[in-house]
């Protein structure tokens, strides 16, 4: 039973990683850029949610507004920082992404100070499942359902709509897609919009789960989500989801079984799993081995 509760703990954590990982994977799939500022967009989403909520808007109005605003921030970042470098070397774009990450962190530190802020709590209004001496919060279940739901929605969008088709085309060959009359810039903007909106979703779930946000909150989940995306196979949507959940579960169960005083090794175990997966399946768990066309 305790094992089951720990599994739920892991899934709750994994759901947040998974949502952030989806954004990483989408952006990488389209422009081959590892957007290191993605974790910080999650932070932006969290602060926007808190800001709009504490300005007096009701929660059901403040949160969608924050998601839209975060989405626009993502699009703006792509427009200002990444698009001018579209044809530059990948390294330049990567360094720019790190720069944007630092810019966001420090800008929010100046705006809101580095003191952690309290996020509104909804868990008191939600039921708790009590099984024997164990408790499973409804928030945990909701977080997992939300993440899976969004992933399914996203997959349906990518595989079932014209826009999604265009997205896949751009991902496969940007120049060819352009020649077929696809507005590549618009598709890339759309990708950043969706990815950033997912980061905002993750931020809200994070906020409700941990009830505390700070300007550096995006850094660690950002790295973990990146690992999740690589673990599942970067560029593959279900892979990001799988990677995220796996990561959360591994982290949680390692902490649960490690003897006293060694629980901090959980992160090391996570990285060890990543190394092993990459050794035996370099393209990730769900990745297909493709030969580079010459």
């Amino acid at each position: 039973m305790l094992f089951f509760v720990q599994l739920i703990n892991g899934l709750q954590l994994g759901a947040i990683y998974a949502l952030v990982a989806l954004g990483y994977t989408m952006v990488y799939g389209i422009v081959k850029l590892i957007n290191f500022a993605h974790g910080d967009l999650m932070m932006v989403g969290a602060y926007l949610s808190l800001f709009l909520y504490s300005s007096g808007l009701p929660l059901y109005f403040a949160l969608p507004l924050a998601i839209v605003a975060t989405s626009l921030t993502g699009v703006l970042i792509e427009r200002v920082a990444y698009r001018p470098l579209r044809n530059a070397s990948r390294l330049s774009a990567l360094i720019t992404a790190i720069g944007i990450s630092l810019l966001l962190q420090n800008a929010f530190m100046i705006l809101f100070s580095s003191t952690p802020r309290r996020f509104p709590s909804v868990s008191e209004q939600l039921p708790v499942f009590v099984i024997g001496t164990n408790r499973i919060s409804f928030m945990a279940v909701l977080t997992v359902l939300f993440a899976v739901g969004l992933m399914l929605l996203l997959t349906a969008f990518v595989h079932g709509t014209r826009m999604g088709k265009a997205m896949r085309a751009v991902s496969e060959d940007m120049r060819a897609a352009q020649l077929m009359g696809i507005n590549v810039n618009r598709i890339i903007s759309l990708t950043f919009a969706i990815g950033s909106a997912l980061a905002a979703f993750a931020a809200i779930l994070y906020g409700f789960s941990f009830q505390q946000i700070d300007p550096y909150m995006g850094a660690m989940p950002g790295i973990k989500a990146f690992i999740a995306a690589v673990l599942g196979g970067i560029g593959i949507l279900p892979g990001a989801m799988l990677g995220g959940f796996l990561l959360g579960i591994i982290e949680s169960l390692t902490k649960a079984v490690m003897p006293a005083g060694y629980t901090q090794l959980a992160d090391a175990v996570v990285f060890l799993v990543l190394i092993l997966v990459l050794l035996f399946k370099p393209s990730g768990l769900l990745g297909q081995t493709t030969r580079e066309k010459v």
């Binding site: 920082a81 902490k255 649960a256 629980t263 901090q264």
Partner: protein
């Protein structure tokens, strides 16, 4: 296409410009704080001469504190307490008829800057004694210099054991990390009748580890069973797994020594995990009430922590200090301010007893300290560490309440 890329290039240039301005602004504020000694009297050329001080000249006391940078909240708090004490002493006629000139330099919480600032205080301002440093690492670096020079040094708030071990002339006002852990274990046994305890601590932070180890050692000594010991690392936000394990072990209390930003997370996640036992902590808990939810200010109720002093302490010396501090700074002093205040009074009293500004005489007088301060009755042991009471605070109705004071045993 060309116009477009030009526009974005301008935008990028504009952004870069804004960034540079921000950097410049940040840089400019720093030297202003470092170079300007915050004294009543401006530093004049006369202060820098090596001429022996005559009887009507002020006694120069140096101060070191991080007034800017990441730990500036502690530096400013400690320095504010010291400034208040110096003002009081000067208003009452100074030390043996001589006024005190207090020169404080900013070291930004950095060891190297602290050593440089120390050299400036000694060579440029000819200080007779030093109040500082505030955080442990720069304090150790400065203590090494002070030990070499034989300069009387009193650190208000540096808790690491190594600080006072540098020399016989180095003292401190705060208790040490292990003192807190031991005292909390005593309190858990004697006042809360705890038989089973669990511990969760930050394995990447010396402070948290120090408290936890001392607590565990003393708890075992007292026959308290440690049913679960869990760790996490810096910046972790998710403690559900560890807390679920702890809840399953069924402890009477959970010892969670960390800073309040993390403590509030542990507190709330413990409730979620069904762990409804009191949490115990160290002085890092001081400030937990700034983190409680607006619609639930009582969420930290029923938890205990060790601290340097309590604002709810009815004794006149504490209440007078609170009144004077609030009058001068318009805020409630945190314990760092109380320690900075006590440090200045202890040093001034020692110089007065010594009857001179001779280094050895002041050190000898400091060793004889028997002082009733805001943070309790203080004497020094052979290392220069204080023997004083530790306050046990409980959060009651969304406020800190002094439960008892326990004398340190070392």
């Amino acid at each position: 296409m060309k116009a477009k890329s030009k526009a974005s290039r301008w935008l990028a240039a504009l952004l870069t410009g804004v960034l540079m301005l921000g950097l410049l602004a940040a840089c400019q504020s720093t030297p202003a704080a470092t170079t300007a000694p915050t004294t009543k009297a401006a530093a004049t050329e006369a202060d820098k001469t090596d001429a022996p001080a005559s009887d009507d000249e002020p006694i120069v006391i140096g101060g070191l504190a991080p007034l800017t940078g990441g730990v500036s909240v502690y530096g400013i708090a400690s320095d504010n307490g010291t400034q208040l004490a110096i003002d009081e002493i000067n208003a009452a006629g100074g030390i043996n008829g001589r006024q005190i000139k207090y020169v404080v330099l900013d070291e930004q919480g950095d060891e190297e800057q602290a050593v440089t600032a120390y050299d400036r205080l000694v060579n440029e301002y000819n200080i007779v004694a030093l109040i500082g440093d505030v955080t442990s690492k720069p304090s150790i670096a400065v203590a090494q210099r002070a030990a070499r020079d034989g300069l009387p040094m009193i650190a208000p708030t540096a808790t690491a054991a190594d600080v006072t071990l540098q020399g016989k002339n180095v003292f401190r006002v705060c208790f040490l990390d292990p003192d807190q852990g031991r005292t909390m274990a005593d309190f858990a046994k004697n006042n809360l009748n705890v038989t089973k305890a669990a511990v969760i601590h930050n394995a990447s932070d010396d402070y948290s580890v120090g408290l936890a180890e001392a607590f565990i050692a003393q708890a075992k000594e007292l026959g308290i069973e440690i049913v679960s010991e869990q760790t996490y690392v810096q910046d972790d936000k998710d403690f559900r797994t560890q807390l679920t394990t702890i809840a399953a072990a069924g402890p009477d209390i959970l010892y969670a020594p960390d800073y309040y930003g993390t403590d509030i997370l542990i507190l709330n996640q413990a409730k979620d995990a069904g762990l409804n036992v009191p949490l115990l902590g160290g002085d890092g808990w001081d400030g937990i009430l700034t983190q409680t939810a607006e619609d639930n200010p009582k969420e930290a109720d029923g938890n205990y922590f060790t601290n340097h002093y309590a604002t709810s302490d009815e004794s006149p010396i504490v209440q007078d200090f609170l009144k004077a501090f609030e009058a001068k700074y318009n805020e409630v002093p945190i314990s760092f301010s109380a320690l900075g205040y006590d440090a200045a009074h202890i040093l001034a009293a020692a110089i007065e007893r010594a009857g001179s500004t001779d280094k050895d005489a002041i050190v000898a007088a400091l060793n004889q300290t028997d002082y009733e301060g805001v943070t309790g009755h203080i004497t020094f042991d052979e290392n220069g560490d204080p023997l004083k009471p530790i306050s046990i605070i409980e959060v009651v109705d969304g406020a800190y309440k002094l439960i008892t004071k326990i004398d340190i045993e070392r």
